[in-house]
C-alpha cells in the first residue's frame, strides 16, 4: 500500500501526472540517468530544496567532520548528498489556507519532518529534515487537499503573495485576493514562465500606505486603485516593476499608474516573455528583473513589454476569472456581533490590544496568531485547524511576518477564541510589535546562512517580551527583522531595526557579527530600504537595540516616526553610539563572543594556524578593511546629504581600498592606482577564484570591475545607492576571503611563496 494507491482519484489528474513524472525522475536520478544540475532544478521546481550540511560535512566545533551518509556516492544535485535531509517548501498562494489543508500540513510535518511547520516571509510553509525519497508521497498528500509545491523554488514564478487582510481591510478600495489567485493559476506552469535566469516574484496590495503586499520589493507589484470612467467605477492596479531585496536591493519603479484589471494577466505574460528573452541567464547574480529594468531603463523596458503585449495571441484565461468576481467573497461562519466592553481577563486584554484588527465589516475582526520565529508544531496546527472550524471556517491566511491570521472572527467570540488559543499555546500577545521578530532560517538550516538569525531573534524576543509592559509605546510599535546573510530572506532592509549576519576574522578566530541596518520603512509597502551602518559582534546586538530604542525615546520629537528620527539624527551619530560595541574581547577573556546565539560550538573554523609573517601582513589587510568600511559609511552620509557624485566616489574608493588590502597579502608594494589595483586583484584573486564565494562565485568581484569600467560617476540617487550596497557586499566578501586565507595553515617559506608574504623591513 502506498499513498498513491490510497489517494487514488482524490488527486486532480494533471497534478497526479506531474507528481508521477517527478517520482520517475527521482528514480532515474537514483539510477544515474539524469545529470546532477538537471535533477537539482527539477526538484527545486517542485519545492524540494537543499539544507545545510547536505554536502556531507559539518564543523562540530572541533573541526570539519564528514557526515558519512549511506548514499554510496549518490547525489541529488551538485555537491548534495542523496540521503542528507532537505527542506520542502510548500506554496500557499496569497497565504490562503483551509482547515483541511492545515490538517494535512500538520500530518506531513509529523511524518516526514520534525513535527514543526515553519511559516516563511513569502507566506509559504516550509518543512525541514525531509528525505528526498519521501517527497513524492508528501506532494500527493498535499495535492489531495488542493496544494501544489510546483514552482515553489527554482527559476520560476514563486508564491504570489498578497495582503493577509485583503477583503476585510478598512482602507482598500477592493479585495485583491481573486486577482492574486488568478495570477497564480495563470502563471503556474505557463510556457512563457519556464525559461527565466532566476526567480520572479509577484505581489498584490490593497493600498499604498500600509505594508500589505510589500510591492516595492517585487519583480511585479500591483496596488489596488480605482478610477471613474463614464460615471462607472473601474477597478485597476498601480503597477510597479523591477523591485527586489536580495544582496543589492532595488526599489520597484512605477510601470503604470492605472492598469485595468483585465490587462494584469496579459501584462504579466508579456513581462515574463521579455524577462525570459532578454534577462541575464549565465550570471545568476544579475538575473532578476530588477537588473533588466536597470540595464534597459524603465522606458525601454515598458516599451518592450507593451510591444510584446500587442503581439500576444488572445487567451481566454486572461479574463475568464473576471466573470466570477461579483460572486467572489468569503462567507462568514457566524453573524457579526460586537463585543461588550469589559469582558475578558488581563491576558485577553493584552492580547486583544495587539493581535486584533477590526474589519470593515461591522461585528467582525481579524485575530493574529503570533508564532515565535514563524514556528508551530504539527499538533498546534491541527488544533488551530479545529479552532478555525469552530470560529471562522476556511478563512485563514499566513502572513509575510511569519504569523497566521484568522479572518471573520465574530467580535463577541474573541474571549472564547483567546481561551482556545491559550489552551494550545498560541495566544502570544504582541503581534506586529518589536517583540514579534521576523527571521529567516539562517544557520539553523540554510546553506547560505552566515550567522544565527533565529538564535538572535529568539534572544531578542525573549528579552523584549519581558520588557513589553515597560516599553514606551513608540518602541513597542517598532519592527525588527533579521537575516542570516546579505540575501535578505528576513527582509531586514524594510523595517526599523534590521540585522544581517556577517563574520569577522579577529585574532585568529572568526567572530559572528551582524550588520546593523537603519533607514528602512515597513509602511508604504516597504517604502524605504535601509542600509548597513556597521557590523557589531552578535553578542552585542541586544545592547544595540537597547541603546537605539532608548535614544529614540529620549530624543523623539512629538509623534516622530522611527524612520524620521533616524533621518534627523543621522547615521553618523547613531553609529557613534555603537562604536564601543564593535570591540571584541580576546578569546581567553570572553570566549562567548566567539560562539553564536544558541550554539555552543566555536563559530566558524576552529584550528587556525597563522604564521607570524602572514600575521603581520594580515594586520595590514585589516587596516585597509577598516579604512574601506569607513569610506562606505561616509558614502551613505554623502548620499543622505544628496551628494550622489561623492557617494559614488566613496563607495568605489571603499572597494578599491578593500581590494588593495587583500592584494597586500601577496604583493606588499601595490600602488594606489585604480588600474593597477583592479588588474592585480583580477590576476591574483579573481582569475584564481581565490576570492570566489562558495555559492555566489565571483559576483562580488564583478561589482568592482563594473564600477571601475564606468568612467562617469553615478548620475542619480538610485545608482549611487546600489553602488553603496555593492561596495558593502564587496567588503564582506573581502572579509570572508581574508578569513579563508588566514585559516589556511602557515605555508613554508619556499622561494616562490617567500616573495608572496615577505614585507620590506
Amino acid at each position: 500500500m502506498t499513498w498513491k494507491d490510497a489517494l487514488g482519484n482524490r488527486i486532480p489528474p494533471a497534478l497526479a501526472r506531474e507528481i508521477d513524472t517527478y517520482e520517475n525522475q527521482t528514480a532515474l536520478k537514483r539510477q544515474g540517468k539524469i545529470d546532477d544540475k538537471v535533477f537539482a532544478e527539477t526538484r527545486l521546481r517542485r519545492g524540494a530544496y537543499g539544507q545545510r550540511y547536505d554536502n556531507g560535512q559539518r564543523n562540530d566545533g572541533t573541526g570539519v567532520k564528514m557526515l558519512p551518509f549511506p548514499s554510496n556516492g549518490q547525489t541529488k544535485g551538485p555537491d548534495t548528498v542523496w540521503d542528507a535531509p532537505g527542506m520542502q517548501r510548500i506554496k500557499i498562494p496569497f497565504g490562503g489556507l483551509t482547515a483541511d489543508q492545515m490538517d494535512a500540513l500538520a500530518d506531513l510535518s509529523e511524518e516526514y519532518s520534525d513535527s514543526v511547520c515553519h511559516i516563511t516571509t513569502r507566506q509559504d510553509v516550509q518543512l525541514h529534515y525531509v528525505h528526498i525519497d519521501d517527497t513524492p508521497s508528501l506532494m500527493r498528500r498535499l495535492a489531495a487537499v488542493g496544494i501544489t509545491t510546483r514552482e515553489a523554488c527554482g527559476n520560476t514564478v514563486r508564491n504570489v503573495t498578497a495582503c493577509p487582510i485583503a477583503g476585510v481591510c478598512r482602507d482598500e478600495p477592493f479585495d485583491v485576493t481573486p486577482y492574486a489567485d488568478a495570477a497564480m493559476h495563470f502563471l503556474l506552469g505557463h510556457p512563457d514562465a519556464q525559461d527565466f535566469g532566476r526567480k520572479f516574484k509577484v505581489a498584490f496590495s490593497g493600498c499604498r500606505e500600509h505594508a500589505c503586499g510589500l510591492v516595492t520589493m517585487h519583480d511585479f507589484g500591483a496596488i489596488a486603485v480605482t478610477r471613474e470612467l463614464d460615471g462607472v467605477e473601474q477597478h485597476g492596479f498601480e503597477v510597479h516593476v523591477g523591485g527586489g531585496l536580495g544582496a543589492v536591493p532595488h526599489e520597484a519603479r512605477l510601470f503604470e499608474p492605472f492598469m485595468a484589471a483585465d490587462e494584469i494577466l496579459p501584462t504579466l505574460q508579456a513581462i515574463a516573455r521579455v524577462f525570459a528573452r532578454l534577462g541575464e541567464k549565465r550570471n545568476r547574480a544579475r538575473a532578476r528583473v530588477k537588473f533588466l529594468v536597470a540595464q534597459l531603463g524603465l522606458d525601454e523596458f515598458r516599451r518592450l513589454v507593451r510591444e510584446e503585449r500587442d503581439t500576444l495571441a488572445h487567451d481566454e484565461a486572461w479574463t475568464a476569472y473576471l466573470e466570477g468576481l461579483p460572486a467572489y467573497g468569503e462567507q462568514p461562519l457566524k453573524t457579526g456581533q460586537p463585543l461588550d466592553d469589559g469582558s475578558g481577563s488581563p491576558a485577553f486584554a493584552a492580547w486583544a490590544r495587539t493581535n486584533v484588527y477590526r474589519q470593515r465589516q461591522p461585528g467582525y475582526v481579524v485575530a493574529t496568531v503570533s508564532l515565535p520565529l514563524g514556528d508551530l508544531s504539527g499538533w498546534q496546527l491541527r488544533r488551530l485547524a479545529d479552532v478555525a472550524r469552530r470560529f471562522v471556517g476556511d478563512t485563514v491566511r499566513t502572513t509575510v511576518e511569519q504569523n497566521i491570521v484568522l479572518r471573520w472572527v465574530r467580535e463577541s467570540d474573541l474571549p472564547a477564541l483567546h481561551c482556545e488559543l491559550e489552551a494550545i499555546g498560541l495566544a502570544r500577545p504582541g503581534a506586529g510589535s518589536i517583540a514579534d521578530i521576523t527571521a529567516c532560517p539562517g544557520t539553523d538550516t540554510c546553506k547560505l546562512g552566515i550567522a544565527s538569525s533565529r538564535g538572535l531573534a529568539a534572544e531578542l524576543e525573549r528579552r523584549l517580551a519581558e520588557q513589553m509592559d515597560t516599553l514606551d509605546d513608540a518602541v513597542r510599535q517598532l519592527r525588527i527583522k533579521v537575516s542570516g546573510c546579505f540575501n535578505s530572506c528576513g527582509q531586514h532592509q524594510i523595517c526599523d531595526l534590521g540585522f544581517y549576519g556577517v563574520s569577522r576574522h579577529i585574532g585568529g578566530h572568526i567572530v559572528p557579527h551582524f550588520q546593523v541596518v537603519l533607514g528602512g520603512k515597513w509602511a508604504d509597502n516597504g517604502g524605504a530600504f535601509g542600509l548597513a551602518i556597521g557590523a557589531v559582534p552578535s553578542k552585542n546586538i541586544p545592547e544595540v537595540v537597547r541603546r537605539i530604542t532608548d535614544r529614540f525615546v529620549s530624543n523623539r520629537r512629538e509623534a516622530e516616526s522611527f524612520y524620521d528620527f533616524t533621518s534627523r539624527v543621522g547615521k553618523r551619530a547613531l553609529r557613534e553610539m555603537l562604536e564601543d560595541l564593535t570591540a571584541v574581547p580576546p578569546h581567553d577573556v570572553n570566549p562567548d563572543y566567539y560562539r553564536d546565539w544558541g550554539d555552543p560550538r566555536e563559530f566558524g573554523i576552529g584550528d587556525m594556524g597563522v604564521g607570524e609573517c602572514a600575521g603581520e601582513v594580515v594586520s595590514l589587510t585589516e587596516f585597509d578593511l577598516v579604512g574601506a568600511e569607513s569610506q562606505v559609511f561616509e558614502a551613505q552620509l554623502q548620499l543622505e546629504a544628496g551628494d550622489v557624485v561623492q557617494a559614488d566616489a566613496l563607495a568605489y574608493g571603499a572597494m578599491l581600498q578593500a581590494a588593495k588590502g587583500l592584494i597586500k597579502t601577496e604583493f606588499i608594494d601595490i600602488s594606489d592606482e585604480p588600474d593597477q589595483i583592479v588588474a592585480e586583484f583580477q590576476t591574483r584573486f579573481f582569475d584564481t577564484e581565490i576570492f570566489f564565494d562558495k555559492y555566489a562565485g565571483g559576483k562580488f568581484a564583478q561589482y568592482l570591475f563594473r564600477r571601475h569600467a564606468r568612467t562617469e560617476p553615478a548620475v542619480n540617487r538610485d545608482t549611487a545607492r546600489q553602488l553603496i550596497a555593492e561596495a558593502q557586499l564587496f567588503l564582506e566578501a573581502t572579509h570572508a576571503c581574508q578569513a579563508r586565507l588566514a585559516s589556511q595553515p602557515a605555508m613554508p617559506t619556499a622561494a616562490g611563496q617567500a616573495a608572496v608574504i615577505e614585507r620590506p623591513q
Binding site: 500500500m1 502506498t2 499513498w3 490510497a6 489517494l7 482524490r10 545545510r52 550540511y53 559539518r58 562540530d60 566545533g61 572541533t62 557526515l67 558519512p68 551518509f69 549511506p70 540521503d83 542528507a84 535531509p85 482547515a99 483541511d100 490538517d103 494535512a104 500530518d107 509529523e110 511524518e111 520534525d114 513535527s115 514543526v116 525541514h128 529534515y129 528525505h131 498528500r141 489531495a144 487537499v145 515565535p372 520565529l373 514556528d375 508551530l376 508544531s377 504539527g378 499538533w379 498546534q380 491541527r382 485547524a385 472550524r389 494550545i424 499555546g425 498560541l426 539553523d444 538550516t445 533565529r454 538564535g455 529568539a458 524576543e461 525573549r462 544558541g598 550554539d599 555552543p600 560550538r601
Partner: protein
C-alpha cells in the same frame, strides 16, 4: 469530523506490522530540574563524541515553542528529541529509517536506542539537576498514517508486539494502555504500569 481524515488517511486497511516510522518517548520524573537550553550543549557534545546510535547531523533549538519538539538532535536514522508534546517534557527517539526484524524486534531495538540516550542524560554531569526518567511510563507512536491509522483496530493489530515489548521492560507486570482519541492524530499509545522502575532496570531487561 473533518473530511481531512478521509483525504489524508486510507479507509480500510491496516498494515501495522510493516510500520517502520516508530517513536518511543520516556518522561522526566521532575521537569523542573532540566532547562531545554542546558540540553543543547549536551546534544552537540554527543555529535562530537558520537555518544549515541546513528549518524548524528545537527541540533535544532525549538524551545521557543509552547509545545512539541523542544530541542532536536537530528540524525539520519532517527531523531532524538527533548520533547514537550502534550505539555510533558521527555526524551523521544523517532525512527526515520528502517530497522531490521519483525515489529517486536524493531520496538525492542528502538527501546534500546532510546534508553541508552536517556541513561546518558541521567548521568551527564554538566546538567544542573539530577535528571531522572520514569521507567514505568512510555509513549509509543506509529508515525505512519498510511500503515497505522489511529483506530481501535490498529491498536488491536499492534497490541501483541507492544505487549511483548512492554512486558519485557516490566518483567511481566501489566501495563495500562491509553490511545489518543483524535482519529486524525498518529496512533499514540500511552503505556503505564504501577511499579516504579529506573531506566537502568528496564534497560537491563531489554
Amino acid at each position: 469530523m473533518s473530511n481531512s481524515t478521509v483525504a489524508t488517511a486510507p479507509s480500510d486497511t491496516t498494515d501495522v506490522a510493516n510500520v517502520q516510522r516508530l517513536a518511543v518517548k520516556i518522561f522526566l520524573d521532575d521537569e523542573s530540574v532540566l532547562r531545554p537550553a542546558d540540553v543543547i550543549p549536551v546534544f552537540h557534545r554527543w555529535i562530537q563524541t558520537r555518544a549515541v546510535d546513528g549518524l548524528l547531523i545537527d541540533v535544532a533549538d525549538y524551545s521557543h515553542m509552547a509545545t512539541g519538539p523542544c530541542v532536536l538532535l537530528a540524525a539520519h536514522e532517527g531523531h532524538y528529541v527533548l520533547d514537550r508534546s502534550g505539555g510533558r517534557l521527555g526524551l523521544q527517539y523517532a525512527r526515520r529509517q528502517p530497522l531490521d526484524g519483525a515489529l517486536p524486534e524493531r520496538l525492542a531495538s528502538l527501546g534500546r536506542i532510546l534508553l541508552d540516550a536517556g541513561r546518558l542524560l541521567e548521568t551527564d554531569t554538566s546538567l544542573p539537576g539530577p535528571v531522572r526518567f520514569r521507567g514505568n511510563e512510555l509513549e509509543c507512536v506509529a508515525n505512519d498514517r498510511l500503515l497505522a491509522p489511529n483506530r481501535a483496530e490498529t491498536l488491536t493489530a499492534i497490541r501483541p508486539a507492544l505487549d511483548a515489548f512492554l512486558t519485557t521492560l516490566s518483567d511481566g507486570a501489566v501495563w495500562t494502555l491509553t490511545r489518543e482519541a483524535d482519529p486524525r492524530a498518529r496512533l499514540e499509545v500511552l503505556a503505564r504500569t504501577p511499579a516504579a522502575a529506573t531506566l537502568d532496570t528496564i534497560a537491563a531487561r531489554l
